[in-house]
């Protein structure tokens, strides 16, 4: 990079300020509890502290934001997470490697397959096992189905955040079908537990591919419907264009990954940058936009759904090899070498990584999750600054957080 100090000085000041300001805001909030000094005049700036969540319809779970507003304009945002903390990382340490997989389902609970995948990939890297090609293809299919379903949930809920109730139902109608496919494959709809270290628990059932192909052929027209409802809609555009603009450089500085990063013009997708499984032989594009606002993030996600359809189609065409190996040669008791490894995949939300430290026993000594939602969420105060309360709702939606993953 020629520009090794990416942020301009003003941007940098704004960005570094935020954390200090948050602290100052917290202190000021404690001190400036209502004291009747004099009745405020009409033209005084009257700051108000608003407790946004944890029980709030559009915080997507139990996120709490303490915001200071002047009228409706946001001066400070102080995210408070942890309401859903379940100590997953601690749980990993107490259990053998395969027993950790069901726990990963509960991190990003709208995208369980990608969590399973990242976890299994990490252990496989530690074991240096190769997984059969059939398993690779099915894993990619499951991943992309999961990406579709996660983006559909995002589309529906962020539509509702901005008052458009109908896309939610359409999106969930399609998601329901995707969950049916999951159910047929692995028996569960949400907490899938659908991958195993070294491969997969099952082969696909008869007719699954054909039915999935039918669905995949149908999907683009459904996506057209959502776009017809929202993409050109002037109200939708007014609510999203220019809201929460963040540059690519700043995204990198904040560690923001996934569609948010790509909407800011950085064409970086782990499926392409560090291909895992068989992504390197698949033909797909990485949708990017340049403005980095909420509208662009919407467009990027919708386009990603279309790309997922393409990937699915290719995988399904390649799949009907004779049914064969779907699980690599993994010992029954998994005891990796005492080493450490980090592996990550492109989850629907961004870079989902697992950092595993083994001490040679059958349990991980330390298993750390690098959750994209958590890291992305820390840019929220930066995004929200100066916007209105209504925009805050749009911004929480646009980062696409899942609190199960933020709090772990």
């Amino acid at each position: 990079m020629s520009d090794d100090r990416p942020l301009s000085e003003a941007d940098k000041a704004l960005a570094t300020q935020t954390a200090e300001e948050l602290r100052a805001a917290a202190l000021a909030a404690a001190e400036s509890l209502p004291v009747d000094v004099h009745p405020p005049t009409l033209f005084d700036v009257q700051e108000m502290e608003l407790n946004f969540g944890p029980q709030h319809p559009s915080t997507h779970g139990v996120l709490r934001l303490v915001i200071r507003v002047d009228g409706e304009r946001i001066l400070h945002t102080l995210p408070d997470v942890g309401y859903l903390h379940r100590g997953t990382e601690k749980l990993f340490e107490t259990e053998t490697y395969p027993m950790g997989i069901p726990h990963t389902d509960r991190l990003d609970y709208v995208a369980a397959a990608t969590n399973n995948h990242a976890y299994c990939l990490t252990i496989e890297k530690l074991l240096a096992v190769e997984i059969p090609r059939r398993a690779q293809l099915i894993r990619v299919i499951l991943d992309e189905l999961q990406r579709l379903s996660s983006h559909l949930v995002w589309l529906g809920t962020s539509g509702i955040d901005l008052g458009a109730v109908t896309p939610f139902w359409y999106a969930f109608r399609e998601r329901e079908q995707i969950l049916d496919f999951f159910e047929e494959y692995c028996g569960a709809r949400l907490t899938l537990n659908c991958m195993r270290i070294g491969g997969l628990p099952f082969d696909i059932t008869a007719g699954w591919v054909e039915r999935l192909m039918e669905f995949v052929d149908d999907l683009p027209s459904r996506i057209d419907d959502y776009e017809q409802l929202l993409t050109d809609n002037r109200i939708w555009k007014k609510r999203t264009v220019g809201i929460g603009v963040i540059s690519g450089e700043e995204c990198i500085e904040w560690g923001v990954t996934g569609p948010v990063l790509r909407a800011s013009g950085v064409e970086w997708d782990l499926r392409r940058a560090q291909p895992y499984e068989c992504y390197d032989e698949l033909d797909f594009a990485i949708p990017t936009r340049v403005n980095g606002d909420t509208y662009d993030r919407y467009i990027v996600r919708v386009q990603e759904m279309r790309q997922s359809v393409r990937i699915l189609r290719q995988c399904l065409e390649r799949l009907p090899l004779p049914p064969g190996e779907f699980r690599g040669k993994v010992p029954r008791v998994i005891k990796p070498v005492a080493e450490e490894v980090y592996a990550s995949i492109e989850s629907p939300k961004g870079e989902l990584g697992f950092y595993c430290v083994s001490n040679g026993t059958n349990r991980p000594y330390r298993m750390h999750v690098r959750p994209p939602s958590f890291i992305n969420l820390q840019a929220l105060p930066r995004l929200a600054k100066g916007h209105l309360v209504s925009d805050l709702v749009a911004l929480i939606g646009t980062i696409d957080i899942v609190l199960g993953e933020v709090d772990r």
């Binding site: 108000m48 008052g163 139902w169 359409y170 057209d224 993409t231 990485i286 386009q303 209105l388 309360v389």
Partner: protein, 390 residues
């Protein structure tokens, strides 16, 4: 039958209006809204209570009435109690001047289907509906809740702003009718053989959009904005008081629809009342026509709600002050010029009808063109293939 003097009849009508409208709201509109929204969202909507869900309104009402009525600590108790009443009463009062139909004869009694035909009907309507905003503002303020307060404030600004284009839109109708009496407005349309929606297309559009804003309905439902303000001004209301707010909102919706029908769509008149070829439309009684038209507007409310996202507060204000009010003023000038510059008393209205009708047709043609363009754009937006490694 000396008992049923006109005075008694009027009281009777008032009772019917006050008793019937809530019933209609409960049974028909709530159900229609939920079922229709369900249909538009590819689901069925409530269909469990009673046959086809017809008693859903009763169930909702029973639930609301039996719920605990909570007043928050440190709320302004009196105002908190008064606010829902203030939201309902003006909306119901406004119905008094709506002519639902011409005089009807029941047995030997002949009576018009309106409570009062006052000569400042339209003015009365504007005045009385604007009182309804106090209910929302006071409710939001008295709840001792910041979300409610923001909701109330938004509501105040919104209703004050949209009152103006609404009134201005109706002024252009006044120019055409030269009367404020609601009955006279309908009769004038009958004499003219022309619904005012044709010469007043722009006025109707402005009126209806302002009306949607006035009733806090999507896409202008900012005061309650469920996903932002957690229901806004009525967050702290439950039970009967909440039911009153609910009723007030729906009654206001009915009033706006009724006024739109009366002023722009010829009230109880069938379409094109002067065209003899359309006489068969007379099978539907006048009151039936009124109901059909009002129903259509309420359907539009529901349709909008299920389709559009919500405006942001500042955008709403900008829309009101920068677009609606100038347009409404311009519309007044256009209508006034048309009326002044044409020889006959009603020629101007026909000229305007042709102009607006032509524009309307043009819009439909443009719609086709636009759809084609949109499809092309969407296809172009999909990256066709993986870019070569850069």
């Amino acid at each position: 039958m000396k008992v049923l003097t006109p005075t008694v009849l009027t009281y009777l009508k008032v009772v019917i209006l006050v008793a019937v409208v809530p019933a209609v709201v409960g049974f028909v509109i709530v159900l229609a809204e939920r079922r229709l929204m369900g249909f538009m969202q590819a689901r069925l909507g409530p269909n469990r209570v009673g046959p086809k869900g017809l008693l859903q309104g009763v169930a909702d009402l029973l639930k609301l009435v039996t719920k605990e009525d909570i007043t928050p600590a440190r709320a302004e108790k009196a105002v908190h109690f008064l606010a829902p009443v203030l939201a309902v009463v003006p909306a119901l009062t406004a119905l008094a001047v709506i002519p639902f139909g011409p005089a009807v004869r029941i047995g030997r009694i002949r009576t018009p289907l309106w409570v009062a035909d006052i000569n400042v009907g339209l003015l009365f309507l504007l005045a009385i509906t604007s009182i309804g905003v106090y209910g929302i503002i006071l409710g939001g303020w008295a709840s001792n809740n910041k979300y409610s307060l923001i909701g109330g404030l938004r509501s105040a600004a919104q209703l004050v702003s949209y009152e103006v284009p609404m009134g201005l839109a109706l002024v252009s109708v006044l120019i055409m009718t030269r009367s404020l009496s609601m009955v006279e407005i309908v009769l004038r349309q009958e004499r003219l053989g022309l619904w005012f929606v044709f010469p007043g297309l722009l006025a109707f559009f402005l009126y209806f959009v302002s009306g949607v804003a006035e009733t806090n309905r999507n896409p202008f439902d900012l005061p309650e904005a469920e996903s932002e303000l957690v229901s806004g001004f009525n967050t702290e209301y439950s039970g009967v008081k909440f039911a009153f707010f609910f009723l007030g909102e729906y009654a206001a919706m009915i009033v706006i629809s009724c006024v739109a029908v009366t002023v722009f769509f010829g009230g109880w008149l069938p379409p094109f009342p002067n065209v003899p070829a359309l006489d068969f439309l007379g099978v539907v009684p006048p009151f039936g026509w009124f109901l059909i038209k009002t129903g259509f507007f309420i359907f539009c409310y529901i349709w909008f709600r299920s389709t559009f996202p919500r405006y942001r507060f500042d955008q709403l204000m900008a829309l009101g002050w920068k677009w609606m009010i100038p347009l409404a003023l311009a519309n007044i000038v256009i209508v006034a010029l048309a009326v002044l510059l044409t020889p006959g008393r009603s020629d101007g209205m026909f000229v305007l009808s042709y102009i607006f009708g032509g524009l309307f047709v043009l819009m439909f043609l443009l719609a086709k063109l636009r759809r084609k363009l949109a499809r092309r754009e969407r296809l172009a937006a999909v990256p066709a293939s993986a870019p070569e490694a850069t």
